[in-house]
Amino acid sequence: MDLSVHIGALTLKNPLIAASGCFGYGVEYADVVDLSTLGAIVSKGLFLKAREGHAAPRIVETPAGMLNAIGLQGIGAQRFIDEKMPELRARGATVIVNVCGTTIDEYVEVSRMLADTEGIVAIELNISCPNIKEGGIQFGCSLNGTFDVVSAVRKVTRLPVIPKLTPNVTDIASFARSAEEAGADAISLVNTFLAMVIDVETRKPKISNGMGGLSGPAIRPIAVRMVHECRQAVKIPILGMGGITNARDALEFIIAGANAVQIGTANFVDPFIWPKLLDGIRDYGQRHNIARVSDLVGTVARSHD
C-alpha cells in the first residue's frame, strides 16, 4: 500500500505523526524509535521565550484517559533551533513545529524564526491549548481569532500552516472553514477537552492548575465525530487525533476523514507503538486490497448499506 500523505506541496512518507507535547522534542525518543520512520514528529509547543510551566502534579489519570496541565513548559524557539534541530536533522526526522503565542505578533514571530530552519517542514499553530490563561485557546474559541492568527502567519511563510483546533466548541466545522478561508494548508484536530478531577478527600483539584486537558481513548469517539464533520466542511487535509492506540483506531480516523493521524497519549503507554501501527495499517491495506492509504480518507459507508 502506498502510505504517502500530501499536505500542500509537502509529502509525508506515511500518515503516522507524533503529537505535540507527547513526544518531548523528539530527541528523547531517538533510542526507542527510528525517528526517520515516522511520517513526522510535532515538537512540544514553542513560544518565543522559555517557560517553566505549572507546578506538579501536572497529570492525573481518568477512566481511559488522562488530564494534563503542563502549562507549556518549553525552551523557546531559538533554543529549539540551536539545541534540538541538529540532532533531529541528523536522525532524519521530519519536523513539524507546534507554535504558541500570547499575541498574534508572537505567533508570527515564532513562525518566521522556525520557518527558516532547515529540516522544519510545516507549522502547526496551537490555538487550542486549554491550560494557559493568556493566548492559545482565546484565539481557537473564536472564529475571527482563528482566522486572524492563520492569515497573519500565512503571510510570513511558504511552509504549510496547520492550525490545531480545539474540540471545546459547539460547531467545530465552522472553525475548520474559517481556517481554510484564512489560507490554512491543513488542520489538526483535536486538542484536549477542558476537564477537571477533584480529590474528594481534600476537595482540591488533582492537578495544580485546577483544570486540565483530557486526552486518550476516552475522547476518541468524540474526536472521530469531529474529524468526520470537518471532512464534510473543508477540502484541505485533516490531521486527526484523540485516543488512537492501535492501527484499528488510526484507520477509524482515516476512514472518518483524516489524511494523517497523530498519536499522543498512547505513545506514553507504549513508546514502541510506531512499527506496530505501521504494520497494522499495511496489513489492513493488504487484506482489503487498498492501493493507497489516501483512498481510504473520508470513506464512511452509510449505516444501512
Binding site: G21, C22, F23, G24, E28, Y29, D31, V32, K44, E52, G53, A55, A56, P57, R58, I59, V60, E61, P63, A64, G65, M66, N68, I70, Q73, G216, P217, A218, T245, T265, N267, F268, V269, D270, P271, F272
Partner: protein, 270 residues
C-alpha cells in the same frame, strides 16, 4: 536503551496485607539494570487504568548457573495498579519497560554509605547494597516504617554486612520515631575526615529532611524522588522537580530522565 517485555509473573510473594514482591521474567532488563533505575509497568490490558506505573527495580534474579532471569519489584498497595500487582497470579503477563532513569552514584572505599529508606522507599537499596558490597564499601541502612510488621528484608541486608538502624512510628521495633533522627546523630558523630555518601528514598518529607540534614553536615546526598510519571522517557513533562540550576535559577527538571536519583541539595524542597 530501554526494552519492553510482556513479562511472565514468576512468583508473587505477599509480605503483608499491602506489600508484595513480584518476580518478573525480564532477563534483558535485568542484564543491564543498575541500582536506582526503575521500570514502567502495566498490569492490565485495556485502557482503565491507562498509564504504566513506575517501580524501582528491587532485586535482580538469577538462575542456578548465575545467569540473570528477571527482576522483582517491591510494591505497596495504594491504588488501582498496585492492587492489580498485589493480586497478580503466576503465569500472568505484565508489561515491563526499562531499565529507565539515572542510577545512584556508587562510591568507593573508604567512603561510608548511609542508605536512608522510608517504607516502600526500601526498594532501590537492595541492588545498591549489593553494588556497594561488591566494591567493599561499608554501609548503614537507616530504615523507618510505621511498625515492625512493615520492616522487610532485614536479613537480606544483614547477610550483605550492612549495618541496620531501624525506627518505627509505633516503637514496635528499633527506635520510636522518624528515621532522620538516628541519621542526624550518626552524621554528628562522624569526623569530617571520614567520607560519607547519603542515599535516600521514601516519602517526600523524609527525603527533604534527609537532604537538609546532609547539607547541615556538608555531606553529599542523592535522593530518589517519586513523582507521578506519565511516560518515564522524557516525553510528557509530568514528573518535574524544581531544581536550582548552574545559573542559580530554579528550573523544572524531568525526574524520569534527569533522575529519579537527583542531588538532594539542588532540589527546591517546599
Amino acid at each position: 536503551m530501554p526494552i519492553d517485555i510482556a513479562a511472565r509473573v514468576l512468583a508473587n510473594r505477599p509480605l503483608s496485607s499491602d506489600y508484595n514482591v513480584l518476580a518478573l521474567a525480564a532477563p534483558a532488563i535485568a542484564a543491564i539494570a543498575t541500582p536506582g533505575q526503575f521500570v514502567m509497568v502495566k498490569a492490565n490490558a485495556g485502557a482503565d487504568p491507562l498509564l504504566r506505573r513506575p517501580f524501582s527495580i528491587f532485586e535482580i534474579l538469577r538462575d542456578a548457573r548465575g545467569d540473570v532471569t528477571g527482576i522483582t519489584i517491591l510494591s505497596k498497595r495504594i491504588g488501582v495498579s498496585t492492587s492489580l500487582i498485589y493480586d497478580a497470579r503466576e503465569g500472568q503477563r505484565i508489561d515491563c519497560l526499562g531499565p529507565l532513569g539515572r542510577p545512584f552514584t556508587i562510591v568507593e572505599p573508604p567512603t561510608h554509605a548511609c542508605m536512608v529508606a522510608g517504607g516502600v522507599g526500601l526498594a532501590p537499596f537492595a541492588t545498591l547494597a549489593q553494588a556497594l558490597r561488591a566494591r567493599r564499601v561499608t554501609s548503614t541502612l537507616f530504615y523507618g516504617a510505621r511498625s515492625a510488621a512493615e520492616l522487610f528484608y532485614l536479613d537480606f541486608f544483614r547477610d550483605l554486612g550492612v549495618e541496620l538502624l531501624l525506627t518505627t512510628e509505633d516503637g514496635s521495633l528499633g527506635e520510636r520515631g522518624r528515621i532522620v533522627a538516628p541519621l542526624d546523630r550518626r552524621l554528628a558523630g562522624m569526623p569530617a575526615s571520614t567520607g560519607v555518601m547519603i542515599y535516600a528514598c521514601g516519602p517526600e518529607g523524609m527525603m527533604a529532611a534527609t537532604a537538609k540534614t546532609a547539607m547541615k553536615y556538608g555531606r553529599p546526598c542523592e535522593v530518589s524522588v517519586e513523582r507521578v510519571m506519565g511516560c518515564g522517557l522524557g516525553g510528557c513533562y509530568s514528573c518535574v522537580v524544581p531544581m536550582r540550576g548552574a545559573d542559580g535559577v530554579v528550573h523544572n527538571v524531568r525526574s524520569c530522565i534527569a533522575g529519579p536519583v537527583l542531588p538532594g541539595d539542588q532540589i527546591q524542597w517546599d
